[in-house]
Symmetry: C2
Subunit: 242 residues, 2 copies
């Protein structure tokens, strides 16, 4: 079955599809931010070890900062859901007639009519939880998300550090002692940034079953644009600091 095949593929990727959005977000930002640090260090002719230290320090700090933002973002989404749910409970208690009518409208839109519609409305509104749940889904189009702030923040951090360390790989492999100003190491890092973006793009496409080529292409295009901007800023930074 298609669904089983999807599940198998997801297990193969060791990746929970639910968190693909967080992984993409953290990975893209991690790769570009690290590239910006490397770009800033490049012109300054730093030792490889300095680039590695700067890159890793930035990965941790920026990754943590992004995770904190993500934590409160997920929390705000959940709070927003809870607030709407509380409002629906309030309305069911205080404006039952209006809420009954809204259930009726929702089920009429599904094709129910006449006596059957009356009966359906009666069953749904006889249980307050079912009633509110139906209002949330049908009127507001909101479903409870299983994703907790701690989990989305963790996936963001892991992805930021994991994908964000790829642009540093050439420096890590070269080891310390070599000059980072070395055009070749920076060229490798630029290519690796492209690889990191393509990796995120292809993972995204695999999980969401969109065209692989389009997925890689669009990530490289917009990500490359952001990286170019970051390079320019890195250059400004480097000139200011030197």
């Amino acid at each position: 079955m298609l669904e089983d095949r999807l599940h198998a593929r997801e297990k193969l990727l060791f990746f929970n599809k639910e968190y693909i959005a967080e992984f993409v977000y953290g990975g893209i930002d991690g790769a570009i931010t690290t590239f910006a640090v490397v770009a800033g260090a490049e012109g300054a002719n730093f030792n490889t070890s300095v680039v590695i230290i700067l890159g890793l320090a930035n990965l941790i700090a920026d990754g943590f900062s992004m995770s904190v933002g993500n934590f409160f973002s997920t929390k705000a989404s959940r709070d927003n859901f809870d607030r709407h749910k509380a409002t629906e409970y309030w309305e069911v208690d205080n404006l039952p007639d209006r809420e009954v009518e809204e259930i009726r409208e929702a089920y009429a839109a599904k094709g129910f009519q006449g006596e059957l519609l009356d009966q359906v409305v009666e069953v749904i509104t006889s249980n307050k939880e079912v009633w509110v749940d139906t209002m949330m889904k049908e009127e507001l189009g909101m479903t409870q998300d299983d994703k907790t702030p701690v989990k989305t923040a963790s996936v963001t951090f892991i992805s930021f550090v994991l994908i964000g360390s790829i642009p540093l790989l050439s420096y890590l492999v070269a080891g310390s002692g070599l000059h980072a100003g070395n055009t070749q190491l920076f060229l490798y890092s630029s290519i690796l940034t492209g690889v990191a973006l393509a990796l995120v793009g292809s993972l995204k496409s695999l999980v969401t079953q969109r065209s692989l080529l389009v997925g890689i292409g669009e990530t490289l295009l917009l990500g490359g644009l952001a990286a170019s901007l970051a390079y320019f800023v890195g250059d400004v930074l480097q000139k200011a600091f030197s």
Copy 2:
């Protein structure tokens, strides 16, 4: 009515509650990242104008990088929804018995039974779109999100730049010519970073109707931790570049 009062409050805030998650995410990351740049510049005794240039350049580049990550994150979420919807259409076409049974289970759980349950299942499964829509909401707990990638990315960018410029305010007010190494300007910037985080925290609480004090407190606590880490990294950066 409560809901009307909520809508009025949202209009008062000139803020669409739907995008509160993106605003919180971009704002927190923007404030902390800018503070990191200011912290790095502080030890280096830069001119105020240099700090402003560095800060603004970072705001644009990092804000754009984050928006690109957000764009693909929202896109991945939507693609994930579309993929599941396609799977449900496939299942309705190829495994109708199983899918009819799942609708039956969903409505039995709502309190329907006997002949009424049969009738409800019949009406729902007589329209393929209603059938799939019900499977999406009831089985998968997924609803179509109105938020488009362009909109979530735009809110992220605007919030990043808007909130992220607050830690720069002391330098902007002081104007160019003064020394940024000036401990006072940096102290103001630290306080302003706290104000920026508190602002995001309180806006979040206002929209989601949670305790204002808790909202500000938790944002200040975790955001302050991230800012401290960023300060440390800024320090490392400054020592490396000088």
